[in-house]
Symmetry: C2
Subunit: 214 residues, 2 copies
DNA sequence: CTTATATAACTGACTAGTCAGTTAGTTGCA
DNA sequence: TGCAACTAACTGACTAGTCAGTTATATAAG
């Protein structure tokens, strides 16, 4: 065993990088929160992952809770807005847009890093109801609203028969959500590695129904 | 303000009730875990809720984690077994049995106390993967298996057309699960206070499909 | 029906350890 | 030189789990 050679013998011990820090801290926080949960994650570990000292975090975020809030805002806001505008643009062909949205959603939910945030929200919802509400209003309600508008457009066009819009939205989101929980939370064998196929069978059922009409 | 009168001036300071304690402790633990989350729940508070001292908990359960495990076993095991036997008994009329099971499930999931355990499991799944696995194997896999057997029976009888069984199971469970999360985790307006109606619209969609065939 | 004895059930006070947040001082850079 | 960015070391508060001692109750003996 030779003594460990210093990898960077020259250069400063640290650099002033005030611009880049916040985002790096958020990345590190997401990683720690995701693997250990919010409560068990240690600020010291987040700092280490971000490559700074614990005290430096407090130069950018006033508290651990603030870190969580900022994280959710940064990671989730854009996503919902994207869904919303996509749905709005696709009103002319609602069924195809629905299929596209569902496939995209299944694809993203298959990624553990993406599913980490909703999972985190579920975990802390008891202690931080205001975060749960933020998530509901700014993410789920937005996406759900967009979906319902699309379904209503389909009904108006006559390609979807007259059924309860909210129930249809549930029938689209629910199965994908279930597979996400099954995969990432319960560690079961996943069908999410082939999102295309998943959505295809889902649409087969939803569009044509289960009853035998041969 | 009169000085508070002692409610029970006579009688012992505590009673020996070894038979009743474990269940009371589990009840208290469920309440605390549910409102504060597993990590933030304090053993002292659980003890207070159960009406005993903190040390007394350790006469019955070796650790906080053991408390959580016992809780899940006690609250959930019976439920899954019940689903399983109901499904087995209803093979002769699969569609009616499915409808019955779905209604019962929606009814139960509407109860915040029942939904508390799965919610807890989701929250701690990162830190206690073995608990998540226990839950998957002993609850979800069991119920899902029973459901799939029922669907296969329907296909064999010809009342359900030839579609992917797993996808159908997802299509049954997913929407109910979604509504549970929406209601109890995100605090949204719920459709679960009328489980009958919820399931009716769900079955309308699932059986007949969305396409307009007028 | 007492009263003595044994022990299971329970408590209060403590320990050892953890961790969010603070402070006093150091370093990089303009 | 001046000051913003950063760190090491510290503190205060909190809590899972322990333990020595106390109390309730079952049972046996008088």
């Amino acid at each position: 065993m030779s003594p460990p050679t210093v990898p960077e013998p020259t250069g400063p011990r640290w650099r002033r990088r005030a611009e880049a820090r916040p985002e790096e801290i958020l990345e590190a926080a997401l990683a720690e929160f995701t693997t250990r949960g919010f409560e068990a994650a240690r600020m010291e570990d987040i700092a280490k992952t971000a490559g700074i000292s614990k005290a430096a975090i407090y130069l950018y975020f006033p508290s651990k809770t603030a870190l969580l809030e900022a994280l959710i805002e940064a990671k989730i806001g854009p996503l919902a807005n994207q869904v919303q505008s996509l749905a709005l643009a696709g009103q002319t062909d609602p069924l195809m847009t629905l299929r596209m949205l569902a496939t995209a959603a299944a694809h993203r939910i298959g990624d553990a890093r993406v599913f980490a945030v909703p999972r985190l929200v579920i975990g802390i919802s008891g202690r931080f109801p205001e975060i749960a509400e933020y998530y509901r209003v700014n993410v789920v309600e937005k996406a759900r609203g967009a979906l319902e508008a699309l379904i209503d457009a389909g009904k108006a066009k006559g390609v979807i028969r007259n059924v309860d819009t909210k129930a249809v939205a549930r029938a689209f989101i629910g199965p994908i959500l279930f597979e996400g929980l099954w995969t990432h939370v319960l560690g079961g064998e996943t069908a999410l590695n082939d999102p295309q196929k998943l959505i295809e069978s889902q649409f087969d059922i939803l569009l044509s129904g289960l009853e035998n009409r041969a």
